[in-house]
């Protein structure tokens, strides 16, 4: 509760005393929307256009009745687009019904008069992105080859990654934050140029109740003998907690794992008539 109060106080402080760099906030404009409409209408928190309605009208058009212009034809089902009415400070706040939204995009500093020169970067107030969390250094996944980081050319070598969900604490913009990282997928890099992306970290043959050298979701068959530097990239999703519960952060963070040497040998079969004791020079025997 104390943290919640602190965050609210921070938000109010930022509202009351905006820095020059926060004075203007350029609107986001998704390319797909701009391509479809030619301009960027406001999208409300329910992912609906506020200013556009068509035959399938679902938009909230309250507060836009005083004036409107026709962007479409004069046919019976014309598309009306009311000009965007400057929204009041209170309306901007009402869009955000959570503290998280308040911090992310509802600091209405643009309404306040600014003194001095215009800011250089109009988008200084940016939401927290997944890249901001890279400094929390989520754990790299370690790759293990089975059996014992060895393998046989032409037969599947099984791989597992040990990455698991975990939390990290740190600070963002001077505030303590707990970030929870959850593996969403894994990119196994086998070291021979081949990769495989999976949503599983893989399991040992024993855990899968399978005999050795059986193909699995994460196994790989090397064509040639040799030593390969294999690794696994762990793709994390993240949530953060500012003291009021976890909120998801869009995007993923890919953390490369350390290389692991995998020794691949060649297996040959030979038909022999005696044991090595009986014929120490036979194919495959120590004295051969």
């Amino acid at each position: 509760m104390r943290r919640l109060v602190a965050v609210v106080v921070l938000a109010l402080i930022i509202v009351a005393f905006p820095t020059p760099a926060q004075a203007v906030s350029a609107p986001g404009c998704p390319k797909a929307v701009r391509e479809a409409l030619g301009y960027c209408p406001t999208i409300d928190k329910n992912d609906r256009f506020v200013e556009v309605s068509g035959d399938k009208s679902t938009s909230d058009r309250s507060g836009s009745s005083n004036s409107s212009e026709t962007r479409g034809s004069n046919s019976g089902n014309a598309i009306y687009t009311p000009p965007p009415r400057p929204r009041t400070r209170d309306e901007k706040f009402s869009d955000c019904n959570t503290l998280w939204d308040l911090l992310k995009r509802c600091i209405p500093v643009a309404d306040r008069p600014t003194d001095g020169p215009a800011p250089e970067d109009p988008r200084a107030t940016q939401p927290i992105t997944i890249t901001d969390l890279a400094s929390f250094s989520p754990a790299p996944g370690k790759l293990t080859g089975e059996p014992d980081n060895l393998g046989v050319a032409g037969l599947p070598t099984n791989f597992t990654a040990d990455a698991a969900a975990h939390t990290r604490t740190g600070a963002l913009f001077g505030y303590p934050v707990t970030a929870r990282f959850t593996p969403a997928s894994f990119v196994f890099r086998y070291g021979d140029g081949q990769t495989r992306t999976t949503t599983t970290a893989g399991k040992t043959w024993e855990a899968l109740n399978l005999p050795q050298f059986t193909p699995t979701d994460t196994s790989h068959t090397y064509a040639e003998r040799g030593t390969y530097q294999a690794s696994v990239d762990t793709v994390y999703t993240a949530e953060i907690d500012l003291g009021t519960g976890y909120f998801p952060i869009s995007g993923t963070l890919t953390i490369p794992g350390p290389p692991q040497s995998i020794q691949i040998y060649e297996a040959r079969t030979a038909l022999v008539a005696h044991t090595c004791d009986e014929d120490p020079t036979a194919e495959g025997c120590p004295a051969s």
């Binding site: 609107p27 479809a36 035959d55 399938k56």
Partner: protein, 180 residues
């Protein structure tokens, strides 16, 4: 093939492999490990950074075209942060409004803003011009979206993440920056 047979074969293969391990490791020199390429996140010049960024943006635009044609590509792969959230929100809003785009969008120019380059190219902004003249946008009813320009301008912010650029922000900008 019975379980017993497969077990015997598997054990046979394993035995053969292990049998030769000692012999091969003793007699055969281990080949050198394949060299791993090292990643470089920075660029020698802004021009190089903008060139790499444009390549990513062009692939992003192509992915949108391919997705409209056959759904085989996903523009989301090129997005992160605000741009990703905007894309998802925008797609939902377009779907909700019953608006669909057909045809290809062409990237006609990508002009980097040298003063936006941060930390040797880890983040930069550019103005892109997109030609809409080979595409149409319609409502479910079949009616075309009116007053759609032939050319649009957008400002994009791109961030270097894990060895490549991603589009981290898409913003409205002056239409006059693109001719047409």
């Amino acid at each position: 093939m019975t379980l017993a047979t497969s077990t015997v074969r598997a054990l046979g293969a394993l035995s053969a492999g292990l049998l030769t391990l000692g012999m091969l490791s003793a007699c055969t020199p281990a080949p050198e490990p394949d060299p791993k390429p090292t990643k470089s996140a920075l660029f020698a010049s802004d021009e190089e950074a903008f060139k790499a960024a444009e390549e990513t943006y062009r692939a992003y635009n192509d992915a949108g075209n391919t997705k409209r044609r056959d759904g085989s590509n996903d523009p989301q792969d090129f997005l992160t942060g605000q741009a990703l959230r905007g894309y998802i929100s925008g797609q939902r809003a377009l779907e909700d409004a019953g608006i669909k785009v057909d045809g290809d969008i062409q990237l006609t120019s990508f002009v980097g803003n040298p003063s936006s380059v941060k930390r040797g190219g880890e983040q930069l902004n550019a103005i892109v011009c997109l030609d809409l003249s080979h595409s149409t946008a319609r409502y479910d009813s079949g009616q075309e979206v009116p007053n759609r320009p032939k050319m649009i301008a957008q400002e994009v912010e791109m961030t270097w993440i894990d060895g490549s650029y991603l589009i981290s922000g898409e913003y409205d900008t002056e239409q006059s920056q693109c001719a047409g």
